[in-house]
Protein backbone atom coordinates (compact mmCIF):
# COMPACT_ATOMS: atom_id res chain seq x y z
CA UNK A 1 0.00 0.00 0.00
CA UNK A 2 2.95 2.21 0.74
CA UNK A 3 4.10 4.34 -2.11
CA UNK A 4 0.89 4.39 -4.09
CA UNK A 5 -0.90 5.95 -1.13
CA UNK A 6 1.75 8.52 -0.57
CA UNK A 7 1.32 9.83 -4.08
CA UNK A 8 -2.49 9.83 -3.96
CA UNK A 9 -3.66 10.35 -0.37
CA UNK A 10 -2.89 13.76 1.06
CA UNK A 11 -1.48 14.69 4.41
CA UNK A 12 1.39 12.25 4.84
CA UNK A 13 4.17 14.74 5.48
CA UNK A 14 1.84 17.03 7.44
CA UNK A 15 0.56 14.37 9.87
CA UNK A 16 3.91 12.59 10.20
CA UNK A 17 5.70 15.87 10.72
CA UNK A 18 3.25 17.00 13.37
CA UNK A 19 3.30 13.62 15.14
CA UNK A 20 7.09 13.61 15.32
CA UNK A 21 7.13 17.26 16.45
CA UNK A 22 4.57 16.74 19.23
CA UNK A 23 6.17 13.48 20.33
CA UNK A 24 9.56 15.19 20.53
CA UNK A 25 8.37 18.24 22.42
CA UNK A 26 6.16 16.44 24.93
CA UNK A 27 7.92 13.11 25.41
CA UNK A 28 11.37 12.61 23.89
CA UNK A 29 13.04 15.93 24.76
CA UNK A 30 11.75 15.95 28.37
CA UNK A 31 13.00 12.40 28.93
CA UNK A 32 16.34 13.36 27.39
CA UNK A 33 16.46 16.37 29.72
CA UNK A 34 16.06 13.98 32.64
CA UNK A 35 19.14 12.02 31.53
CA UNK A 36 21.01 15.27 30.88
CA UNK A 37 20.32 16.55 34.37
CA UNK A 38 21.49 13.27 35.86
CA UNK A 39 24.71 13.47 33.84
CA UNK A 40 25.66 16.71 35.60
CA UNK A 41 26.32 14.63 38.71
CA UNK A 42 29.74 13.05 39.00
CA UNK A 43 29.79 9.27 39.04
CA UNK A 44 30.56 9.30 42.73
CA UNK A 45 27.63 11.60 43.55
CA UNK A 46 25.34 9.58 41.30
CA UNK A 47 26.17 6.33 43.06
CA UNK A 48 25.81 7.97 46.45
CA UNK A 49 22.34 9.21 45.47
CA UNK A 50 20.98 6.00 43.96
CA UNK A 51 22.69 3.28 45.98
CA UNK A 52 21.75 4.05 49.58
CA UNK A 53 20.25 1.30 51.71
CA UNK A 54 16.94 3.13 51.66
CA UNK A 55 16.95 3.40 47.86
CA UNK A 56 17.90 -0.24 47.42
CA UNK A 57 15.05 -1.31 49.68
CA UNK A 58 12.73 0.88 47.62
CA UNK A 59 13.84 -0.61 44.28
CA UNK A 60 13.48 -4.19 45.46
CA UNK A 61 10.04 -3.45 46.90
CA UNK A 62 8.93 -1.65 43.71
CA UNK A 63 10.04 -4.39 41.36
CA UNK A 64 9.24 -7.25 43.75
CA UNK A 65 5.68 -6.07 44.38
CA UNK A 66 5.08 -5.36 40.68
CA UNK A 67 6.44 -8.80 39.79
CA UNK A 68 4.31 -10.59 42.40
CA UNK A 69 1.20 -8.68 41.32
CA UNK A 70 1.86 -9.42 37.64
CA UNK A 71 2.29 -13.14 38.38
CA UNK A 72 -1.03 -13.21 40.25
CA UNK A 73 -2.56 -11.25 37.38
CA UNK A 74 -1.45 -13.91 34.88
CA UNK A 75 -3.32 -16.57 36.86
CA UNK A 76 -6.41 -14.42 37.47
CA UNK A 77 -6.38 -13.10 33.91
CA UNK A 78 -6.24 -16.59 32.43
CA UNK A 79 -9.12 -17.67 34.67
CA UNK A 80 -11.26 -14.65 33.77
CA UNK A 81 -10.51 -14.86 30.04
CA UNK A 82 -11.32 -18.58 30.03
CA UNK A 83 -14.61 -18.13 31.84
CA UNK A 84 -15.63 -15.14 29.71
CA UNK A 85 -14.84 -16.86 26.41
CA UNK A 86 -15.94 -20.43 27.09
CA UNK A 87 -18.87 -20.32 29.50
CA UNK A 88 -22.33 -18.80 29.48
CA UNK A 89 -23.82 -17.58 32.74
CA UNK A 90 -26.13 -14.82 33.96
CA UNK A 91 -24.65 -11.31 34.20
CA UNK A 92 -21.66 -12.32 32.10
CA UNK A 93 -21.75 -8.97 30.23
CA UNK A 94 -21.59 -7.13 33.56
CA UNK A 95 -18.58 -9.18 34.65
CA UNK A 96 -16.93 -8.51 31.31
CA UNK A 97 -17.43 -4.75 31.69
CA UNK A 98 -16.22 -4.69 35.29
CA UNK A 99 -12.87 -6.14 34.18
CA UNK A 100 -12.15 -2.78 32.53
CA UNK A 101 -12.90 -0.71 35.64
CA UNK A 102 -9.26 -0.50 36.78
CA UNK A 103 -8.40 1.17 33.45
CA UNK A 104 -10.98 3.90 33.95
CA UNK A 105 -10.94 4.34 37.73
CA UNK A 106 -8.42 6.94 38.92
CA UNK A 107 -5.61 5.28 40.82
CA UNK A 108 -6.07 7.67 43.74
CA UNK A 109 -9.63 6.40 44.15
CA UNK A 110 -8.41 2.80 43.98
CA UNK A 111 -5.80 3.48 46.64
CA UNK A 112 -8.24 5.35 48.86
CA UNK A 113 -10.89 2.65 48.80
CA UNK A 114 -8.40 -0.23 49.17
CA UNK A 115 -6.90 1.41 52.23
CA UNK A 116 -10.38 1.82 53.71
CA UNK A 117 -11.46 -1.76 52.92
CA UNK A 118 -8.59 -3.57 54.62
CA UNK A 119 -8.18 -1.58 57.84
CA UNK A 120 -9.51 -3.52 60.88
CA UNK A 121 -12.80 -1.61 60.74
CA UNK A 122 -13.18 -1.90 56.96
CA UNK A 123 -15.58 -4.17 55.12
CA UNK A 124 -12.95 -6.79 54.28
CA UNK A 125 -10.58 -6.01 57.16
CA UNK A 126 -13.25 -7.01 59.71
CA UNK A 127 -12.99 -10.56 58.38
CA UNK A 128 -9.37 -10.72 57.28
CA UNK A 129 -7.51 -8.93 60.08
CA UNK A 130 -8.64 -11.46 62.77
CA UNK A 131 -7.46 -14.18 60.37
CA UNK A 132 -4.01 -12.57 60.36
CA UNK A 133 -4.11 -10.85 56.98
CA UNK A 134 -3.10 -7.19 57.19
CA UNK A 135 -4.07 -5.58 53.89
CA UNK A 136 -3.55 -1.94 54.83
CA UNK A 137 -0.20 -0.18 55.37
CA UNK A 138 1.75 -3.37 54.59
CA UNK A 139 3.61 -4.85 51.64
CA UNK A 140 0.72 -7.25 51.08
CA UNK A 141 -1.52 -4.23 50.67
CA UNK A 142 0.77 -2.82 47.97
CA UNK A 143 0.66 -6.10 46.04
CA UNK A 144 -3.10 -6.23 46.45
CA UNK A 145 -3.72 -2.79 44.98
CA UNK A 146 -1.23 -3.48 42.16
CA UNK A 147 -3.22 -6.63 41.32
CA UNK A 148 -6.30 -4.42 41.00
CA UNK A 149 -4.50 -1.88 38.82
CA UNK A 150 -3.07 -4.54 36.49
CA UNK A 151 -6.15 -6.78 36.32
CA UNK A 152 -7.43 -5.89 32.80
CA UNK A 153 -4.15 -6.37 30.94
CA UNK A 154 -3.82 -10.17 30.93
CA UNK A 155 -7.57 -10.68 30.42
CA UNK A 156 -7.65 -8.37 27.42
CA UNK A 157 -4.55 -9.82 25.76
CA UNK A 158 -5.58 -13.48 26.26
CA UNK A 159 -9.28 -13.09 25.44
CA UNK A 160 -8.97 -12.47 21.66
CA UNK A 161 -6.44 -15.31 21.24
CA UNK A 162 -8.73 -17.70 23.08
CA UNK A 163 -11.69 -16.62 20.96
CA UNK A 164 -9.81 -17.19 17.71
CA UNK A 165 -8.43 -20.55 18.79
CA UNK A 166 -9.21 -23.10 16.09
CA UNK A 167 -11.55 -25.68 17.72
CA UNK A 168 -10.04 -28.37 15.51
CA UNK A 169 -6.81 -28.32 17.49
CA UNK A 170 -8.80 -29.39 20.53
CA UNK A 171 -10.75 -31.92 18.44
CA UNK A 172 -7.48 -33.40 17.29
CA UNK A 173 -6.11 -33.61 20.81
CA UNK A 174 -9.32 -35.22 22.08
CA UNK A 175 -9.49 -37.68 19.22
CA UNK A 176 -5.95 -38.78 20.00
CA UNK A 177 -7.13 -39.69 23.49
CA UNK A 178 -5.91 -36.61 25.35
CA UNK A 179 -7.82 -35.78 28.50
CA UNK A 180 -9.23 -32.31 28.96
CA UNK A 181 -6.38 -31.36 31.29
CA UNK A 182 -3.73 -32.72 28.93
CA UNK A 183 -5.29 -30.77 26.07
CA UNK A 184 -5.20 -27.61 28.15
CA UNK A 185 -1.70 -28.14 29.45
CA UNK A 186 -0.02 -29.26 26.22
CA UNK A 187 -2.13 -27.72 23.45
CA UNK A 188 -3.95 -24.61 24.64
CA UNK A 189 -1.47 -23.20 27.14
CA UNK A 190 1.48 -23.10 24.70
CA UNK A 191 -0.73 -21.26 22.21
CA UNK A 192 -1.70 -18.71 24.85
CA UNK A 193 1.83 -18.29 26.18
CA UNK A 194 2.87 -15.27 24.05
CA UNK A 195 -0.33 -13.43 25.00
CA UNK A 196 0.24 -14.26 28.67
CA UNK A 197 3.75 -12.81 28.46
CA UNK A 198 2.44 -9.64 26.79
CA UNK A 199 -0.19 -9.24 29.50
CA UNK A 200 2.39 -9.91 32.18
CA UNK A 201 4.64 -7.24 30.70
CA UNK A 202 1.87 -4.64 30.60
CA UNK A 203 0.74 -5.38 34.16
CA UNK A 204 4.34 -5.35 35.38
CA UNK A 205 5.15 -2.03 33.70
CA UNK A 206 2.03 -0.49 35.15
CA UNK A 207 2.88 -1.83 38.61
CA UNK A 208 6.45 -0.53 38.57
CA UNK A 209 5.38 3.02 37.82
CA UNK A 210 2.26 3.10 39.97
CA UNK A 211 2.19 5.87 42.53
CA UNK A 212 -1.35 7.08 43.18
CA UNK A 213 -2.76 3.77 44.31
CA UNK A 214 0.24 2.78 46.42
CA UNK A 215 0.70 6.06 48.27
CA UNK A 216 -2.67 5.56 50.00
CA UNK A 217 -2.29 1.93 51.04
CA UNK A 218 1.40 1.67 51.85
CA UNK A 219 1.87 4.04 54.78
CA UNK A 220 5.20 5.00 53.14
CA UNK A 221 7.58 3.81 55.84
CA UNK A 222 11.24 3.90 54.70
CA UNK A 223 12.76 0.41 54.34
CA UNK A 224 9.37 -1.21 54.86
CA UNK A 225 6.68 0.10 52.55
CA UNK A 226 8.39 2.85 50.59
CA UNK A 227 8.44 2.35 46.81
CA UNK A 228 10.87 4.14 44.50
CA UNK A 229 8.42 6.80 43.19
CA UNK A 230 7.64 7.77 46.79
CA UNK A 231 11.36 8.13 47.43
CA UNK A 232 11.62 10.46 44.42
CA UNK A 233 8.82 12.63 45.81
CA UNK A 234 10.53 12.66 49.23
CA UNK A 235 13.78 13.88 47.63
CA UNK A 236 11.88 16.52 45.66
CA UNK A 237 10.26 17.82 48.82
CA UNK A 238 13.77 18.30 50.23
CA UNK A 239 14.59 20.25 47.01
CA UNK A 240 17.27 17.64 46.25
CA UNK A 241 16.54 17.73 42.51
CA UNK A 242 19.74 16.03 41.36
CA UNK A 243 19.28 13.11 43.72
CA UNK A 244 15.64 12.77 42.72
CA UNK A 245 16.63 12.79 39.04
CA UNK A 246 19.32 10.19 39.64
CA UNK A 247 16.79 7.83 41.21
CA UNK A 248 14.36 8.58 38.38
CA UNK A 249 17.01 7.65 35.81
CA UNK A 250 17.69 4.36 37.60
CA UNK A 251 13.94 3.67 37.63
CA UNK A 252 13.64 4.55 33.92
CA UNK A 253 16.57 2.32 32.94
CA UNK A 254 15.31 -0.57 35.04
CA UNK A 255 11.79 -0.37 33.60
CA UNK A 256 12.97 0.04 29.99
CA UNK A 257 15.35 -2.88 30.58
CA UNK A 258 12.71 -5.18 31.99
CA UNK A 259 10.28 -4.25 29.20
CA UNK A 260 12.96 -5.09 26.64
CA UNK A 261 13.52 -8.42 28.36
CA UNK A 262 9.80 -9.19 28.37
CA UNK A 263 9.66 -8.24 24.69
CA UNK A 264 12.48 -10.69 23.92
CA UNK A 265 10.73 -13.49 25.84
CA UNK A 266 7.54 -12.70 23.94
CA UNK A 267 9.32 -12.93 20.57
CA UNK A 268 11.08 -16.11 21.58
CA UNK A 269 7.84 -17.71 22.74
CA UNK A 270 6.00 -16.88 19.51
CA UNK A 271 8.90 -17.96 17.27
CA UNK A 272 6.86 -20.83 15.77
CA UNK A 273 4.10 -18.56 14.56
CA UNK A 274 6.13 -17.08 11.75
Amino acid sequence: MANVNRRVLPGFSLTLGYSVFYLSVLVVIPIAACFMKASTLSLDEFVRAVWTDRARAAYSLTFGAAFAAAVVNVALGLLLAWVLVRYEFPLKKLLDSLVDLPLALPTAVAGLVYSALYVPTGWLGQVLVPLGFQGAYTRAGIVLVLIFVGLPFVVRTVQPILEDLDPETEDASASLGGTRWQTFRHVILPLLFPALVTGFGLAFARGVGEYGAVVFVSGNMPFKTEIAPILIVARLEEFAYSEATAIAVVLLILSFGSLLLINLVERWSSRYER
Binding site: M1, N3, N5, R6, V8, L9, P10, G11, L14, L16, S19, V20, Y22, L23, V27, I31, A33, C34, L76, V83, L84, R86, Y87, F89, K93, L95, S97, L98, D100, L101, P102, A104, L105, P106, T107, A108, V109, L112, V113, Y114, L124, L151, P167, S173, A174, R180, L202, R206, G209, E210, Y211, V215, A228, I232, L236, Y241, A244, T245, A248, L251
Partner: protein, 361 residues
Protein backbone atom coordinates in the same frame (compact mmCIF):
# COMPACT_ATOMS: atom_id res chain seq x y z
CA UNK B 1 -17.78 -18.98 12.59
CA UNK B 2 -21.06 -18.25 14.34
CA UNK B 3 -22.61 -21.61 13.42
CA UNK B 4 -19.63 -23.42 14.87
CA UNK B 5 -19.54 -21.12 17.88
CA UNK B 6 -23.09 -21.78 18.97
CA UNK B 7 -22.84 -25.49 18.28
CA UNK B 8 -21.38 -26.90 21.46
CA UNK B 9 -18.18 -28.68 20.55
CA UNK B 10 -17.74 -31.81 22.57
CA UNK B 11 -13.99 -31.45 22.66
CA UNK B 12 -14.35 -27.92 24.04
CA UNK B 13 -16.82 -28.89 26.77
CA UNK B 14 -15.47 -28.88 30.28
CA UNK B 15 -16.99 -31.09 32.97
CA UNK B 16 -19.81 -29.42 34.90
CA UNK B 17 -17.86 -29.27 38.15
CA UNK B 18 -14.96 -27.56 36.38
CA UNK B 19 -17.32 -25.07 34.79
CA UNK B 20 -19.10 -24.29 38.05
CA UNK B 21 -15.86 -24.00 40.03
CA UNK B 22 -14.15 -21.74 37.52
CA UNK B 23 -17.19 -19.51 37.05
CA UNK B 24 -17.61 -19.15 40.81
CA UNK B 25 -13.94 -18.33 41.18
CA UNK B 26 -14.14 -15.68 38.44
CA UNK B 27 -17.21 -14.09 40.01
CA UNK B 28 -15.47 -14.09 43.41
CA UNK B 29 -12.34 -12.47 41.97
CA UNK B 30 -14.29 -9.67 40.33
CA UNK B 31 -16.52 -9.36 43.37
CA UNK B 32 -13.70 -8.93 45.86
CA UNK B 33 -11.27 -6.99 43.69
CA UNK B 34 -13.67 -4.73 41.79
CA UNK B 35 -17.30 -4.81 42.88
CA UNK B 36 -16.85 -4.47 46.67
CA UNK B 37 -14.44 -1.50 46.29
CA UNK B 38 -16.86 0.09 43.84
CA UNK B 39 -19.82 -0.17 46.21
CA UNK B 40 -17.65 0.86 49.13
CA UNK B 41 -16.77 4.20 47.50
CA UNK B 42 -20.41 5.25 47.45
CA UNK B 43 -21.17 3.74 50.86
CA UNK B 44 -18.35 5.71 52.46
CA UNK B 45 -19.23 8.89 50.61
CA UNK B 46 -22.82 8.69 51.81
CA UNK B 47 -21.97 7.31 55.27
CA UNK B 48 -22.98 10.54 57.00
CA UNK B 49 -26.06 11.18 54.93
CA UNK B 50 -26.90 12.91 51.70
CA UNK B 51 -26.77 16.36 53.28
CA UNK B 52 -23.19 15.98 54.44
CA UNK B 53 -22.30 14.48 51.07
CA UNK B 54 -23.72 17.55 49.30
CA UNK B 55 -21.92 19.92 51.67
CA UNK B 56 -18.65 18.03 51.19
CA UNK B 57 -18.88 18.52 47.47
CA UNK B 58 -20.50 21.86 46.84
CA UNK B 59 -20.09 23.87 50.03
CA UNK B 60 -16.39 23.26 50.39
CA UNK B 61 -14.55 26.09 48.69
CA UNK B 62 -11.36 24.14 48.00
CA UNK B 63 -13.17 21.08 46.69
CA UNK B 64 -15.22 23.22 44.35
CA UNK B 65 -12.04 24.89 43.10
CA UNK B 66 -10.49 21.44 42.53
CA UNK B 67 -13.51 20.34 40.48
CA UNK B 68 -13.29 23.49 38.37
CA UNK B 69 -9.54 23.10 37.85
CA UNK B 70 -9.97 19.49 36.72
CA UNK B 71 -12.61 20.70 34.25
CA UNK B 72 -9.96 22.98 32.73
CA UNK B 73 -6.92 20.72 32.84
CA UNK B 74 -8.45 17.45 31.58
CA UNK B 75 -10.20 18.84 28.44
CA UNK B 76 -7.13 20.89 27.45
CA UNK B 77 -4.80 17.90 27.75
CA UNK B 78 -7.41 15.84 25.90
CA UNK B 79 -7.56 18.33 23.00
CA UNK B 80 -3.75 18.26 22.62
CA UNK B 81 -3.69 14.46 22.57
CA UNK B 82 -6.72 14.27 20.28
CA UNK B 83 -5.06 16.34 17.54
CA UNK B 84 -1.89 14.30 17.93
CA UNK B 85 -3.75 10.98 18.05
CA UNK B 86 -5.64 11.64 14.83
CA UNK B 87 -2.51 12.88 13.03
CA UNK B 88 -0.37 9.97 14.21
CA UNK B 89 -3.05 7.40 13.37
CA UNK B 90 -3.44 8.87 9.88
CA UNK B 91 0.31 8.70 9.21
CA UNK B 92 0.80 5.25 10.74
CA UNK B 93 -2.34 3.48 9.52
CA UNK B 94 -2.59 4.88 5.99
CA UNK B 95 1.06 4.96 4.95
CA UNK B 96 4.14 2.82 5.10
CA UNK B 97 7.43 4.53 5.82
CA UNK B 98 10.80 3.75 7.36
CA UNK B 99 10.65 4.18 11.12
CA UNK B 100 6.96 3.33 11.33
CA UNK B 101 7.56 0.63 13.95
CA UNK B 102 9.81 2.96 15.92
CA UNK B 103 7.18 5.70 15.92
CA UNK B 104 4.52 3.22 17.10
CA UNK B 105 6.83 2.08 19.89
CA UNK B 106 7.63 5.65 20.92
CA UNK B 107 3.91 6.43 21.25
CA UNK B 108 3.73 3.77 23.97
CA UNK B 109 6.75 5.20 25.78
CA UNK B 110 4.76 7.17 28.40
CA UNK B 111 3.16 3.88 29.51
CA UNK B 112 6.51 2.69 30.81
CA UNK B 113 7.44 5.94 32.51
CA UNK B 114 6.32 6.24 36.11
CA UNK B 115 3.89 9.18 36.49
CA UNK B 116 6.13 10.62 39.21
CA UNK B 117 9.06 10.61 36.82
CA UNK B 118 6.82 12.24 34.20
CA UNK B 119 6.08 15.06 36.61
CA UNK B 120 9.73 15.32 37.58
CA UNK B 121 10.97 15.81 34.02
CA UNK B 122 8.71 18.84 33.57
CA UNK B 123 9.99 20.28 36.84
CA UNK B 124 13.51 19.81 35.48
CA UNK B 125 12.65 21.82 32.36
CA UNK B 126 10.24 24.49 33.59
CA UNK B 127 10.92 24.60 37.32
CA UNK B 128 12.80 27.44 39.00
CA UNK B 129 16.07 25.51 38.90
CA UNK B 130 15.20 23.92 35.56
CA UNK B 131 16.67 24.50 32.14
CA UNK B 132 14.13 27.16 31.15
CA UNK B 133 13.51 28.34 34.72
CA UNK B 134 15.71 31.47 34.71
CA UNK B 135 14.27 32.66 31.39
CA UNK B 136 10.64 32.05 32.42
CA UNK B 137 11.22 33.86 35.67
CA UNK B 138 12.87 36.89 34.10
CA UNK B 139 10.72 37.47 31.03
CA UNK B 140 8.63 34.36 30.41
CA UNK B 141 5.79 36.09 28.56
CA UNK B 142 8.14 37.25 25.78
CA UNK B 143 7.83 33.75 24.31
CA UNK B 144 4.06 34.02 24.03
CA UNK B 145 3.81 36.11 20.78
CA UNK B 146 6.07 33.60 19.01
CA UNK B 147 4.07 30.61 20.25
CA UNK B 148 0.73 32.15 19.34
CA UNK B 149 1.93 33.21 15.87
CA UNK B 150 3.42 29.78 15.21
CA UNK B 151 0.05 28.26 16.12
CA UNK B 152 -1.62 30.56 13.58
CA UNK B 153 0.93 29.52 10.93
CA UNK B 154 0.24 25.85 11.70
CA UNK B 155 -3.51 26.41 11.26
CA UNK B 156 -2.87 28.23 7.96
CA UNK B 157 -0.65 25.42 6.60
CA UNK B 158 -3.23 22.83 7.64
CA UNK B 159 -5.99 24.77 5.85
CA UNK B 160 -3.90 25.25 2.71
CA UNK B 161 -2.86 21.60 2.41
CA UNK B 162 -6.30 20.36 3.38
CA UNK B 163 -8.18 22.49 0.86
CA UNK B 164 -5.70 22.03 -2.01
CA UNK B 165 -7.28 19.94 -4.79
CA UNK B 166 -5.61 16.55 -5.08
CA UNK B 167 -6.19 16.22 -8.81
CA UNK B 168 -3.45 18.26 -10.60
CA UNK B 169 -5.90 19.25 -13.37
CA UNK B 170 -8.07 21.19 -10.91
CA UNK B 171 -5.18 23.12 -9.42
CA UNK B 172 -4.67 26.69 -10.52
CA UNK B 173 -2.82 29.74 -9.25
CA UNK B 174 -1.67 29.35 -5.65
CA UNK B 175 -2.57 25.68 -5.55
CA UNK B 176 0.27 24.93 -7.99
CA UNK B 177 3.00 26.29 -5.72
CA UNK B 178 2.74 24.48 -2.39
CA UNK B 179 6.22 25.42 -1.15
CA UNK B 180 5.88 29.07 -2.08
CA UNK B 181 2.39 29.22 -0.60
CA UNK B 182 3.49 27.52 2.61
CA UNK B 183 6.61 29.60 3.16
CA UNK B 184 5.49 33.01 1.87
CA UNK B 185 1.94 32.62 3.18
CA UNK B 186 3.25 31.30 6.46
CA UNK B 187 5.58 34.28 6.85
CA UNK B 188 2.72 36.65 6.10
CA UNK B 189 0.45 34.97 8.65
CA UNK B 190 3.25 35.10 11.20
CA UNK B 191 3.77 38.84 10.69
CA UNK B 192 0.08 39.66 10.73
CA UNK B 193 -0.45 37.84 14.03
CA UNK B 194 2.89 38.80 15.57
CA UNK B 195 2.90 42.55 14.99
CA UNK B 196 -0.35 43.43 16.82
CA UNK B 197 0.73 41.47 19.88
CA UNK B 198 3.87 43.56 20.11
CA UNK B 199 2.23 46.86 19.12
CA UNK B 200 -0.63 46.59 21.60
CA UNK B 201 1.64 45.06 24.28
CA UNK B 202 -0.72 42.18 24.87
CA UNK B 203 1.64 40.32 27.17
CA UNK B 204 3.17 41.61 30.42
CA UNK B 205 6.79 42.67 30.15
CA UNK B 206 9.56 41.39 32.42
CA UNK B 207 7.05 39.31 34.33
CA UNK B 208 7.54 35.77 35.57
CA UNK B 209 5.54 33.15 33.67
CA UNK B 210 4.66 30.30 35.99
CA UNK B 211 4.39 26.85 34.47
CA UNK B 212 5.33 24.56 37.33
CA UNK B 213 3.06 24.96 40.40
CA UNK B 214 0.47 26.42 38.01
CA UNK B 215 -2.15 25.27 35.51
CA UNK B 216 0.14 24.97 32.41
CA UNK B 217 2.35 22.49 34.26
CA UNK B 218 -0.69 20.44 35.27
CA UNK B 219 -1.82 20.36 31.64
CA UNK B 220 1.62 19.32 30.35
CA UNK B 221 2.01 16.54 32.93
CA UNK B 222 -1.51 15.26 32.27
CA UNK B 223 -0.96 15.35 28.50
CA UNK B 224 2.25 13.36 28.89
CA UNK B 225 0.65 10.61 30.92
CA UNK B 226 -2.49 10.30 28.75
CA UNK B 227 -0.50 10.77 25.55
CA UNK B 228 -0.95 7.29 23.97
CA UNK B 229 -4.67 6.74 24.55
CA UNK B 230 -6.34 8.32 21.50
CA UNK B 231 -3.61 7.20 19.09
CA UNK B 232 -3.66 3.63 20.37
CA UNK B 233 -7.43 3.45 20.08
CA UNK B 234 -7.43 4.85 16.52
CA UNK B 235 -4.49 3.06 14.87
CA UNK B 236 -6.03 -0.46 14.84
CA UNK B 237 -9.43 0.93 13.78
CA UNK B 238 -7.92 2.88 10.87
CA UNK B 239 -5.73 -0.06 9.84
CA UNK B 240 -8.73 -2.40 9.79
CA UNK B 241 -10.77 -0.04 7.61
CA UNK B 242 -7.98 0.41 5.04
CA UNK B 243 -7.70 3.12 2.41
CA UNK B 244 -10.08 2.06 -0.37
CA UNK B 245 -12.83 4.52 0.51
CA UNK B 246 -10.42 7.43 0.82
CA UNK B 247 -8.82 6.56 -2.53
CA UNK B 248 -12.26 6.41 -4.13
CA UNK B 249 -13.13 9.84 -2.72
CA UNK B 250 -9.86 11.27 -4.02
CA UNK B 251 -10.51 9.81 -7.47
CA UNK B 252 -13.88 11.58 -7.43
CA UNK B 253 -12.14 14.89 -6.84
CA UNK B 254 -12.43 15.40 -3.08
CA UNK B 255 -9.79 17.50 -1.36
CA UNK B 256 -7.96 16.39 1.77
CA UNK B 257 -10.33 18.20 4.09
CA UNK B 258 -13.41 16.60 2.49
CA UNK B 259 -11.83 13.14 2.52
CA UNK B 260 -11.06 13.49 6.21
CA UNK B 261 -14.40 14.84 7.38
CA UNK B 262 -16.73 12.93 5.07
CA UNK B 263 -14.99 9.56 4.75
CA UNK B 264 -12.49 9.03 7.55
CA UNK B 265 -14.29 10.60 10.51
CA UNK B 266 -17.60 8.73 9.98
CA UNK B 267 -15.66 5.47 9.65
CA UNK B 268 -13.59 5.88 12.79
CA UNK B 269 -16.37 7.65 14.72
CA UNK B 270 -16.86 5.03 17.44
CA UNK B 271 -13.17 4.38 18.01
CA UNK B 272 -12.66 8.13 18.20
CA UNK B 273 -15.47 8.60 20.73
CA UNK B 274 -14.20 5.83 22.96
CA UNK B 275 -10.63 7.12 22.70
CA UNK B 276 -11.83 10.56 23.77
CA UNK B 277 -13.86 9.22 26.69
CA UNK B 278 -11.09 6.95 27.96
CA UNK B 279 -8.42 9.64 27.57
CA UNK B 280 -10.68 12.09 29.42
CA UNK B 281 -11.27 9.65 32.29
CA UNK B 282 -7.55 9.06 32.65
CA UNK B 283 -6.79 12.78 32.41
CA UNK B 284 -9.32 13.62 35.13
CA UNK B 285 -7.94 10.91 37.39
CA UNK B 286 -4.22 11.45 36.87
CA UNK B 287 -2.44 11.61 40.20
CA UNK B 288 1.30 10.89 40.24
CA UNK B 289 2.42 13.33 37.57
CA UNK B 290 0.24 16.24 38.71
CA UNK B 291 1.22 15.51 42.33
CA UNK B 292 4.79 16.49 41.49
CA UNK B 293 4.07 19.60 39.40
CA UNK B 294 1.12 21.02 41.35
CA UNK B 295 2.74 22.47 44.46
CA UNK B 296 -0.48 21.72 46.38
CA UNK B 297 -1.78 25.25 46.75
CA UNK B 298 -5.29 24.69 48.13
CA UNK B 299 -7.97 26.21 45.94
CA UNK B 300 -5.46 27.01 43.20
CA UNK B 301 -3.45 24.03 41.96
CA UNK B 302 -5.24 21.05 43.52
CA UNK B 303 -7.04 18.87 40.98
CA UNK B 304 -9.73 16.43 42.12
CA UNK B 305 -7.37 13.47 42.77
CA UNK B 306 -5.01 15.75 44.69
CA UNK B 307 -7.95 17.03 46.71
CA UNK B 308 -8.83 13.41 47.56
CA UNK B 309 -5.33 12.89 48.90
CA UNK B 310 -5.35 16.11 50.90
CA UNK B 311 -8.69 15.32 52.55
CA UNK B 312 -7.40 11.80 53.26
CA UNK B 313 -4.34 13.25 55.00
CA UNK B 314 -6.63 15.52 57.02
CA UNK B 315 -8.59 12.44 58.16
CA UNK B 316 -11.71 13.79 56.45
CA UNK B 317 -12.70 10.43 54.97
CA UNK B 318 -16.31 11.28 54.01
CA UNK B 319 -15.07 14.38 52.19
CA UNK B 320 -12.34 12.40 50.48
CA UNK B 321 -14.78 9.71 49.40
CA UNK B 322 -17.28 12.32 48.21
CA UNK B 323 -14.76 13.62 45.66
CA UNK B 324 -13.77 10.03 44.86
CA UNK B 325 -17.41 9.16 44.16
CA UNK B 326 -17.56 11.79 41.40
CA UNK B 327 -14.49 10.34 39.70
CA UNK B 328 -15.93 6.85 40.14
CA UNK B 329 -19.07 8.00 38.33
CA UNK B 330 -16.89 9.21 35.46
CA UNK B 331 -15.21 5.78 35.39
CA UNK B 332 -18.59 4.02 35.34
CA UNK B 333 -19.76 6.23 32.48
CA UNK B 334 -16.56 5.29 30.64
CA UNK B 335 -17.39 1.59 31.03
CA UNK B 336 -20.92 2.25 29.84
CA UNK B 337 -19.55 4.10 26.81
CA UNK B 338 -17.37 1.09 25.99
CA UNK B 339 -20.44 -1.17 25.93
CA UNK B 340 -22.37 1.33 23.78
CA UNK B 341 -19.47 1.84 21.37
CA UNK B 342 -18.93 -1.91 21.00
CA UNK B 343 -22.62 -2.36 20.15
CA UNK B 344 -22.64 0.50 17.64
CA UNK B 345 -19.45 -0.79 16.04
CA UNK B 346 -20.86 -4.32 15.75
CA UNK B 347 -24.00 -2.88 14.12
CA UNK B 348 -21.90 -0.82 11.72
CA UNK B 349 -19.75 -3.80 10.69
CA UNK B 350 -22.89 -5.92 10.27
CA UNK B 351 -24.68 -3.37 8.10
CA UNK B 352 -21.50 -2.84 6.06
CA UNK B 353 -21.25 -6.59 5.50
CA UNK B 354 -24.93 -6.76 4.48
CA UNK B 355 -24.34 -3.84 2.14
CA UNK B 356 -21.54 -5.62 0.31
CA UNK B 357 -23.60 -8.82 0.16
CA UNK B 358 -26.46 -6.93 -1.47
CA UNK B 359 -24.08 -5.40 -3.97
CA UNK B 360 -22.71 -8.81 -4.81
CA UNK B 361 -26.08 -10.57 -5.22
Amino acid sequence: MSAEGTLARRSQNDATWVRVTLTTAAVLVIGVLVLIPLVNVFAQALSEGVGVYWDNLFNDHDTLAAIKLTMVVAPTALMLNLVFGVAAAWAIAKFNFPGRTLLTALIDLPFSVSPVVAGLIFVLIFGLQGYLGPFLRRDGYSAMPYLLSLLAVAVYVLMYLGLRPINPVERSGWWNHPWLATIAGGALVFLVTFAPQIYFEMWPKDASLKIIFATPGLILATAFVTFPFVARELIPVMEAIGVEEELAAVSLGANGWQVFWQITVPNIKWGLIYGIILCNARAMGEFGAVFVVSGHIAGLTDTMPLRIEKLFQEYNLPGSFAVASLLTLVALLTLLARVGVDRAEAARVKSAAEGTNELRS
